[in-house]
């Protein structure tokens, strides 16, 4: 790999060009999942369980099938009954049986909204009528949603086959605790024995949804020869292809998935819900089938992330040295195992160099929708507990909260609590950026408070393919297999333009379907600019080598006598002093004479992603009458490695902050006594709106990752990690009372204010 290029040498990387897909998006032309239309297309809809937990005694679809205009009806009986099997598809392993049964319940409905049957009909009205005609006999079972209640031995058990993993001995009875994971080092008891000060707290968070504005949508078509096509909005067309093949028992080669523009994902579109069902309906009906979720379905049957209980105990010496930390995490997984408690455990203390540590995590199934990845999955939850406790520790010690974090902060060469030795990290630089920011010293007004919190995310690399094609006029096309959620096409074009020496406007990036580019893992884990960017850069590098060879041919010299400078081949052969440099356009014009079209493709498995650290500073103001908390100022610093397109890096940070603020202040799944979600709409599930937020000052700290050609680190996930605690710590500062249960909604604030008054 080439060395990380110096900033001054870069012409394109680090600038802010207009994104290549922008005009389509501001004019309404961009085609999202629900915008696709085929002739003869049917409307597919899903019958969902009204019960949070019920045995499915029978499903009678005869009346629905008989209704005029109904072309297909499916239940789990129309899908293969898969055995329990872990399968890697694009990112992390999933259990195929669980995935299939989450798309369509087989024996039991495990949450309200769980899919039971699906129909395809000539219109939405007919499809709705058909759903009403499907007769389901249920045996309603007791349900459990609260994570600690689900861990009780007396709790209703969701899966008779689920025996806790990670214990010394396999338990004798099934339970809802899918896994216990432990992480630690040192001697906890001795550590706390050394401590002068001990703080502890028990914190809770509620399930929150990713809240992408575009509901899940797809169109599927199965032709008479079994060839399948899917157009869908997801974070990975290859992920959709693999999962559809596995769930339906189809061959990969028979499925082609075309990615639509994606209207937000945040991790929530790293799995499938509709696509296998739409294919099954199309196969049965012989028509293309479109399925689009309503917002209510999105809330009831997709995402969210875990609600959780976090217990933290910290011990420190009087000088601020943290000597021991004990963390217990209990995360809801929803209906099937697989909460992000593992990542929550590994990230919980990643910013701290503490000798004696124990972290215990519980993955617990509950009668709520199976959780899906949500931006730095698991990390904001554990950080909320740890960063709240660190804030209390700073107060207890009378130390500045940033100085306390600096004193215990990790640097390159230090062993992370989760195992590896850090390299090339920029945590202390990021802390300093906040400490030196004018915001940190700015005076606060009445009823205002200030909070600091930090966050960590690993970032990943993984498998990607990229192709670069040079056109006859010397312009270029960059092809990748990664859906562009937040402007990644711009970064891809910029990296290619940098290497090729072209103006970025002459590089057109596209996201190709599964038949038109090699395999790429999905867009997630903050991997695209890092890993796919590496593939793009290497492909562009191959082009440069190729055109140098061609220039040598044109000049009748050897390739070692050709240099590539500022987008031109320059002849170093002293005997050819008369020749002028050749631009890419000049070489492309003669491509036929020098070996044919100029193209390069690179497939790789990118290793060595650099982790990201974020440090956030938040001011809030409390309305003591209404209990409303307003975020009045917010500054977020992050080590981004090197920003390829700084505006979209800032955008990632600002968006992550907004989501974190919503998590802290307003957002929560509210269930009634029957396990029905009571707020399955944007009116009652309140995500931050424009008038809720101030400007968000994103401070980019650049400590390059030497394993990426331009030094990039993933940036999308770290920014959602600190805000929960940054807001809570600011509220603590304003009120003088520690609040441990999110969201910090007006009724809870009012209760504290009233308590203080009396």
């Amino acid at each position: 790999m080439t060395d990380v290029m110096d900033r001054p040498a870069l012409k394109v990387v680090g600038t802010r060009p207009i994104r290549p897909d922008g005009v389509d998006k501001v004019t309404g032309r961009a085609q999202f999942g629900a915008d696709f239309h085929l002739p003869g297309m049917l409307v597919g809809k899903i019958k969902r369980s009204p019960h949070a937990h019920a045995r499915i005694v029978s499903i009678d679809t005869r009346k629905a099938r008989a209704l005029a205009g109904v072309k297909a009806v499916i239940t789990a009986a129309d899908l293969p009954d898969l055995a329990s099997q872990e399968y890697e598809a694009g990112e992390s392993a999933s259990n195929l049986r669980d995935l299939s049964q989450n798309c369509m319940a087989r024996d039991k409905a495990l949450y309200q909204g769980h899919a039971l049957a699906a129909v395809a009909a000539v219109s939405a009205q007919v499809a709705d009528e058909a759903l009403d005609l499907i007769e389901v006999v249920y045996e309603v079972l007791p349900h459990v949603i609260d994570v600690e209640a689900a861990m009780e031995p007396s709790a209703p058990v969701l899966h008779a086959h689920l025996f806790t993993e990670g214990l010394a001995e396999r338990p004798a009875t099934a339970s809802n605790i899918a896994k216990v994971n432990r992480l630690g080092r040192g001697d906890l008891e001795a550590g706390f024995g050394e401590a002068d000060v001990v703080v502890q707290g028990r914190y809770t968070t509620k399930a929150v949804h990713q809240g992408y504005i575009e509901p899940h949508a797809c169109v599927a078509q199965v032709s008479q020869d079994g060839q399948c096509q899917v157009w869908s909005s997801s974070q990975g067309q290859f992920m959709v292809r693999t999962y559809c093949a596995k769930i339906l028992g189809l061959e990969i080669a028979d499925i082609r998935v075309t990615p639509a523009e994606i209207g937000g994902g945040f991790g929530g579109k790293t799995t499938v819900y509709l696509e296998p069902l739409a294919l099954a309906l199309s196969r049965q009906s012989g028509h293309p089938v479109k399925m689009v979720m309503t917002r209510e379905e999105v809330f009831r049957a997709t995402g969210p992330t875990s609600g959780a209980v976090i217990e933290v105990k910290l011990g420190a010496k009087q000088d601020g040295t943290i000597v021991a930390a004990d963390v217990v995490l209990k995360y809801q997984a929803g209906a099937f195992p697989g909460s992000p408690v593992g990542a929550g455990s590994m990230t919980a203390l990643a910013a701290y160099d503490i000798p004696n540590v124990a972290i215990t995590g519980y993955d617990v199934v509950t009668n709520s929708p199976k959780v899906a990845a949500y931006r730095a999955p698991g990390a904001p939850i554990s950080a909320f507990g740890v960063e709240s406790a660190i804030d209390d520790l700073a107060r207890e010690l009378g130390m500045d909260p940033i100085v306390l974090r600096e004193k215990n902060g990790v640097v390159s060469g230090v062993k992370a609590v989760y195992g590896p030795t850090y390299r090339d990290i920029g945590y202390l630089e990021t802390l300093k950026a906040i400490k030196d920011h004018p915001h940190y010293a700015a005076p606060l007004g009445p009823n205002q408070g200030r909070g600091v919190a930090v966050g960590f995310w690993f970032n990943v690399g993984g498998e990607s393919t990229a192709a670069v094609h040079v056109n006859e006029d010397g312009s270029a096309v960059v092809v990748t297999g990664n859906p562009d959620i937040g402007g990644s096409r711009a970064s891809m074009a910029m990296m290619a333009a940098e290497v090729l020496g072209l103006p970025v406007e002459q590089v057109r990036p596209i996201v190709a379907d599964t038949a038109s580019i090699g395999f790429s893992m999905l867009t997630g884990g903050s991997r695209t600019t890092f890993a796919t960017g590496m593939a793009v850069t290497q492909a562009a590098g191959k082009i440069v080598e190729d055109v140098k060879r061609r220039a040598a041919l044109i000049w009748d010299t050897t390739v070692d006598k050709v240099a590539w400078e500022s987008g031109q081949a320059v002849c170093l052969d002293a005997t050819k002093s008369a020749v002028k440099p050749l631009t890419l356009a000049a070489i492309a014009a003669q491509a036929g004479r020098t070996g044919g079209p100029i193209s390069a493709e690179v497939s790789l498995n990118a290793q060595g992603a650099g982790p990201g650290f974020a440090v956030h500073l938040c001011d809030v103001e409390i309305d003591r009458e209404t209990g409303h908390v307003t975020v009045v100022r917010y500054t977020a610093a992050q080590d981004v490695g090197r920003a390829i397109h700084p505006a979209y890096v800032e955008g990632q940070i600002q968006g992550g902050v907004a989501q974190g603020v919503g998590w802290a202040l307003n957002e929560e799944y509210i269930f009634d006594a029957d396990g029905q979600m009571e707020n399955a709409g944007f009116l009652d599930y309140r995500v931050p709106v424009a008038s809720d937020l101030p400007m968000i000052d994103a401070v980019l700290v650049e400590v390059p990752n030497p394993r990426h050609p331009f030094g990039a680190k993933g940036v999308g996930e770290a920014p959602i990690v600190p805000p929960l605690a940054a807001v809570a710590n600011a509220v603590r500062d304003a009120l003088g009372v520690r609040m441990c249960d999110l969201p910090l909604s007006p009724p809870k604030i009012r209760a504290v204010v009233d308590g203080l008054a009396s």
Binding site: K25, G28, Q31, Y212, E261, G264, Q654, G655, A690
Partner: protein
């Protein structure tokens, strides 16, 4: 129930379509006229992704019945760019990177244009409250607000010059 025939004006041109009595204006625009720039994010008037103008008023197309469009003048995102030129708001959204996924963008642009048409010099607070009905989950609104303020400033200069 049989469909009804509706005559209306969309982006300045006469447009006719058939609609179920219960269909929304959003259904008609997207499914009958194939103007898919207005998006359905919620179907309940909470997200603003389907914002359109009806007789000069900003409405959520998902909250209006299609037959109510009879005889009305409808403007959608597809009509915002005039000829080959983007509206200054569209241009500023691009320059400020005020979109990430772009799904809420058409609704935000239609709503922002409605604001600037009636208030050429809004404060940041006025812009934030006006756009409070348009949810964006990607951007944290920072760059959206900056783009609208910048477009307003540009439009004021154009007005002064003319």
């Amino acid at each position: 129930m049989s469909k009804r025939h509706i005559s209306t004006t969309v982006n300045g041109d006469a447009a006719e379509f058939l609609a179920e009595p219960g269909a929304t204006l959003l259904d008609a625009l997207r499914d009958e006229l194939r103007l898919t720039g207005a998006k359905e994010g919620c179907g309940s008037g909470d997200c603003g992704a389907c914002s359109v103008m009806v007789d000069g008023r900003l409405v959520c197309a998902c909250l209006m019945l299609a037959p109510e469009a009879e005889g009305r003048r409808i403007e959608t995102i597809e009509g915002m760019a005039q000829g080959g030129r983007l509206h200054p708001l569209q241009q500023k959204f691009l320059e400020h990177a005020a979109l990430q996924c772009g799904f809420c963008t058409p609704g935000l642009l239609v709503a922002a244009k409605a604001l600037l048409d009636q208030n050429p010099d809004p404060s940041e607070t006025e812009v934030r409250y006006w756009l409070a009905g348009n949810l964006c989950r990607c951007t944290g609104y920072d760059k959206v607000i900056r783009a609208v303020m910048d477009a307003a400033a540009d439009l004021r200069q154009v007005r002064r010059a003319s």
